[in-house]
Structures are given as structure tokens and as C-alpha cells.
Symmetry: none
Subunit: 203 residues, 4 copies
Amino acid sequence: MTSHRGLEKKITGAAERLFARDGFAATGMRAIAQTAKVSIGAIYHHFKSKEAILERIIREELNRRQRFLEELRGRGLPLQEQVQQIVQMHFDLLQEKRDTARLFFRERFDPSPVLRAKIQALYGEVAEYVAVIIQEGLAMGEVRPCQPLLTAYTILGMVEAVSLRALGQDETAALFMKEGPEELARSIWLWLHLGQEERRAHA
Amino acid sequence: MTSHRGLEKKITGAAERLFARDGFAATGMRAIAQTAKVSIGAIYHHFKSKEAILERIIREELNRRQRFLEELRGRGLPLQEQVQQIVQMHFDLLQEKRDTARLFFRERFDPSPVLRAKIQALYGEVAEYVAVIIQEGLAMGEVRPCQPLLTAYTILGMVEAVSLRALGQDETAALFMKEGPEELARSIWLWLHLGQEERRAHA
Amino acid sequence: MTSHRGLEKKITGAAERLFARDGFAATGMRAIAQTAKVSIGAIYHHFKSKEAILERIIREELNRRQRFLEELRGRGLPLQEQVQQIVQMHFDLLQEKRDTARLFFRERFDPSPVLRAKIQALYGEVAEYVAVIIQEGLAMGEVRPCQPLLTAYTILGMVEAVSLRALGQDETAALFMKEGPEELARSIWLWLHLGQEERRAHA
Amino acid sequence: MTSHRGLEKKITGAAERLFARDGFAATGMRAIAQTAKVSIGAIYHHFKSKEAILERIIREELNRRQRFLEELRGRGLPLQEQVQQIVQMHFDLLQEKRDTARLFFRERFDPSPVLRAKIQALYGEVAEYVAVIIQEGLAMGEVRPCQPLLTAYTILGMVEAVSLRALGQDETAALFMKEGPEELARSIWLWLHLGQEERRAHA
DNA sequence: AATGAATGAGGGTTCATTCAT
DNA sequence: AATGAATGAACCCTCATTCAT
């Protein structure tokens, strides 16, 4: 049982790197087997197909994020700080697992329609989680009136666009990596909070 | 000469649909040839490779956007309206050419490193164009202090995330398609403009 | 393991015949697979490429010849007899494996520069082996003064030209096949030995 | 008419270089057209097929050699000198037209069986010409008893093997190019003439 | 005479997957 | 549980040749 998990980790670890570098479609099972130092047969013993490997990787990454978000919710922080933590989370995961992050940006469209739908659904879960936080902020009068889900997608888009750019190798990427989290968190908060001081004063 | 262009349009048209539906890597030349009702040889007479077809599609789409942006600049509209137009452009292009839009979201990561770099560079050009608009807003005191390029990426990310979600087939997608442009334009402007009334009053 | 070798022999056997008949470039992998009654995938499981098949065939043929030459050297025969045996070897191999012989004459120039260089190098090894024998003959005063390597190439050229002609289907070919070995061996020996009787008498 | 010939020379000239460098099968019509700065259509206007181009090249080269041999015969030189001239001819043609020479060594086996037979027949003509010279030598008692045609092939093989090796780029090639003609001519003559002094004395 | 766009069969090779061991 | 040899459809692309202009 320990060896199961160990072998599966070896496989997903190798696949993660290769998928991120070359793309899902362009990565062959032979390459995965060689990188993981495992036989092709062994891979098929543990995974139904190449797609199943990708599915496992994506699912585990999303689990990480959901665990983080649930833990975050449990801490009962003020809204502004929650926003800041979420942004920071993205950048931390980025630094820690560049390959996975890159992979995560990618294959949201690529594989079979079935898998694509699955991945987008999982992505939707994160968005809905953020929407819940926004809803809470609305209820507490800390967030200006808005459509929560649409706003959640907007925020995730902001973070992704900047962090994606920060994955590059040039100076701009370095700048984004350094200043991105703080500037993003500040402007997202400002944007959500927009004019609420006055409104609350009126109320 | 007319027939040249006509055949090339047939090819890119077919490829556009197939790439968007199945992905670049998963689309075969045979499929493109059949869909375009053209021989494989003819395709290779007009395009060096499969990548060259994608490149052409992406480049033409980018050209469309750049033409739009340049025309927009020529009109000398107030900043707020420029922002609104840019957001609207994205959604219009989305409605008009769903396949191309979907394709445009995709292959920014997938193909060979060479092509990937090329696409990201073209994407960067649009971002820089937006950054210029923001810079002008800064100079005129209409935009709060910010890092223009980072802000440009942020905005494009917001728009992309929402419009990508709007490409789906469900109710949420319909909602996003209907309310997205206005809400996005309004909140982006508020966010850029944030507190400038007061600052300008001080000055 | 036995089956490995068996399958590889089936592949090289089929390829040998086809390469010899149609030429390396004009022989397709599909034809090899069908002739060998093996799947295309199986071929690529055992050989990296079409060139690798040719390389194996050539190398094994050269090994056969080298083994023969080494064994010949071990027997310590007088020089004249060694010459006669070498010529006879060529004709025996010719009779025994017409396809390989024909192939051997061919692709010394045709394939990629890399492979061509490799083949010519292997051919050079045989020439050098013959040069060593000539050198020994020089040392023993049995061979007239000459440049050994140049003479070796000359001898191989003589043998090849005649045996190549003997591969044909007409009367001349039959004549060459019958009388070639003896006449060649005699004249090569005469040519090497040229005037040594007198010189040795003088000494 | 002048322009016909000019254009055809451009085509055969380009093809000669490419066939010699890359091989007949590996050289495409497009490459020939580009190198000759001529349209593909124009090539097909002057030559029935790719094989027809090769055929023309080979035929012209053989014509050159036959013209040389006929002229040689006309001069009524002593046999020894004829041998020396024939060897020298090979090396001169080699120096003068390296590409053609290389091509000449090659495609004697490669193309379609039909063309192959044709080329070998032409090669046979040269051999037979040499055989006639040997026959004359036999009749005049200048050449030791031998099978003339077999001896002719032997001689051509000697010359080819050495001159082929002389086409290389290394030191051995340079040595062969410098010393080859003289050493070959001398030893071939001695070898043909072998012991005839004595025999003639007896007679 | 000359062009070059168009053809489509065929090229070598890779692929995810299966299955006997 | 684990192996890796075997499969053969599908991959992208090149080819000599044709033919409307």
C-alpha cells in the first residue's frame, strides 16, 4: 500500500513536469515511464489511461487549493485579509510548484471534451468559493453591490493574468512576481470595497 | 490571386473551427483538408506546416484587435469610454467568432516553444497598447497611481476570465454574456478612477 | 531472447532482399513489414529507423568478412594462398548471399552522409586488413615494393568489379563466376609478386 | 534553339551537383528547379521525368569517355602508352568534374531496373573497348595470355577503387590522387606484359 | 515556351494501449 | 504486481507529375 502510493507519486510527479513542459498531447507514455523510472505496464496497472494521470494531477492540485480555502474560511479573518490571503496563495503555489501552475493554466481547454468539462467544473468550484466570500461581504456591507459570481471570475482572471505573466523569464516577470501580490490584493480590495465607506456612513 | 486568398481562407476557416473544437495537437491535416474540401497537397502549397496555419489564424485575429484599438485611439474618446469600448470589443468579437475566440484562449501555451513565444509576444502587444491608454490616463490625472503594464494585464485577465466563462452553454454563461460587458466596464473604470475626484479637487 | 533474435533476423532478412532489389531509398517500411510478416510497430521496437536496419545488415556482413580474414590469418598460410583464399571468399559470399552482396555494392554512396561515412569507414577496415597482409609480404620479400594501402584498394577494386559483373544474368556473368576466382587470384599474385624472383636471386 | 540548349544545360548542371551530393532518390524536382533558377514546368517541358535528367547526364559523361577512347585509338600509340592514357583519363575527369565522377560511381545501381540496366550496358561498352585493346595486345604478343573481357573489368575495377578513394577529403585521398595514376599505370602495364619479353625471345 | 497551383498516394515515424509472460 | 514486446491506425509531411493559364 505504501509502495502503491509511492509508485503513483513517481508517475504523477514525472507526468506533471512533462505535461507542463511539453503539453499533454505532446507527452508520450514512454517519456513518462522513462522519467518516472517505471515500466509502461506499471503505469497502466495504476492508471486507466493517460488522461487518468492528468485527471489525478489536476484533482490533487485543486484539492490543495480547496483545503487552503476551507482552512482560510475557518480562521474567520476580516474580508480584506481573506482577499489578500487568496492572492498570496496563488503566488505561493506559483513559486512552490511552477510546473504544476503552468500545467494548471494550460490543459483547461486541451484534452477531450469530457475531461475539459470536468476540469472547468473543478475550476468553477473555486470560483464559487470566492463568490461565497463576496456574498458574505455584501451581507456585511463591506462590498459594493455586484453580481458575486461574475465578480469572482473577474478576480480570478486578474490574478491569473498577472501570475501567468510572472511565470516568464524576463524583467517584467520578475517585477510582476515581486510587486504583483501586494498591488493586486490592494486593488482588488479597493475595487470590492469601492465607496462603501460613504454608503455605510449614510446608513 | 483572388483564388489564392479564397483557398487560404477556406483552409484557415476550417482549421479555425477544428482547432477550437478539438485542439491544435488533436486536429489532423486530413481533417482540415476534408473540412475545407481541399487536397492535403494544396494546404502545404499555401502553408509551410500545421503550425503555420495556426500562426496565420492567430496573427489575423490579433490584427483585427489592433486595427480596432488603433481606430479607437484615433477617435479621441474620453478615457472612460475607451475602457468601455475595449471591453465591448472583446465581447463582440466573442459573439461574432466564437471559434476563433475559443482558439485564442487555448493555444497560448500548447504548441512548440517557438510558436508559444510568438503568440505570447503578440498578446503582449495588446497589453502594451492598453498600458499606453492607462499611461495617458495617469498623465491627465484621470487614473489613480499604478504600475501601467501590470494594470493592463490585470484588466485583460478580468475580461478574459469573464468572457471565457461566457463561452459556455449554461445559464451562467448567458448571464455573463448579457451583463458582463457593462458590469466589467463600469467596475474597471471605477477601479482605475478610484478617488481621483478628490485628488483632482485637492490640486 | 530467442524470439528477439528471431524477429530481428526476419526483419533484416526481408530488408536485405528488398534493399538489394529496389534500393534503400525506394524500399518502404510497409514493404519490409509485409515481407517479414511483422507489424510496422514491431520493426520500430527493434530498430530505431530504416537506416538502423541497413546499418545492422552492413555491419553483420562486414563482421562475417572480418571473421573470415582473422581466421585466415590464424592459419599461417603462405602469401600466395592467402590471396587466393581472399578472392575465393568474395565469390563464395557472392554465391551464398547474392542479395547481400548486391546490397553491399550499392549503398556505399547513397544514404545520408552520416551513414555513408560509417559504411566507408567499415569498408576501409577491410582494406586496411588487406594492407597488413601486403605489408607482411613486403617484409618477407615476397611482394614487390609498393604503397600497401593503395595496393589493397586496387586489389579490392579488381575483385569487386569482376564479382559485380558476375552477379548479372547473362553468359558473361556465368563465365566470370566460373573463371573469375582463379584468374583473379593468379593475376593478383603475379602482380604483387612481379619480378621478385629476380630480386631475391640478386640478394 | 540556343536557348533550348542553354536551359537544358542549366538543368542538367544543377541536377548533376544535387544528385552527386544527395543521391538521385533524395533529390527533389523542386530543389533542381530552384538551383537551376528555372520553373518546374520548364523542366518538364524539356525532360520527360526526373529519370530522364539522370539519363541525359550519364549518357553525356559516357559520350565524353567514348570520344576520348576513340580518339585514343586513332592515334595508334603503343599499347603501354594507351594503358597509361586510359588511367590518366579517369583521374583527369575526376579532377575536372568531381560531382559528375561521384555521381557516376553512384547511381549505377540505384534507380529503376530499366535505367540501371541501361547504365550498366553503357558501362559495359567502355569495358569492351578496353577488352579490344587487350585483344590487340594479345595478338601482337605484347600481353600475356588472359581472358580479355575479364581482364578489362579487372583493370577498370582497379582504377575505380583507387580513384573513388581519391575523392575523399583526407591525407590518404591526397596521396592517392598524387601517386595513383602513375603507380596504377605502371603496375597494370607490368602485369599485362608479364614475362612477355622472355616469351617473345623464345619465339 | 513557360508557369506554379493543385493533386493525393505514399513516405518514415510515433502513439496509446493490450496482453502473454 | 509488474514487464515490455507487439500492434496498426494515425501522425505530419514530401513527392513526381499534371494542367489550366
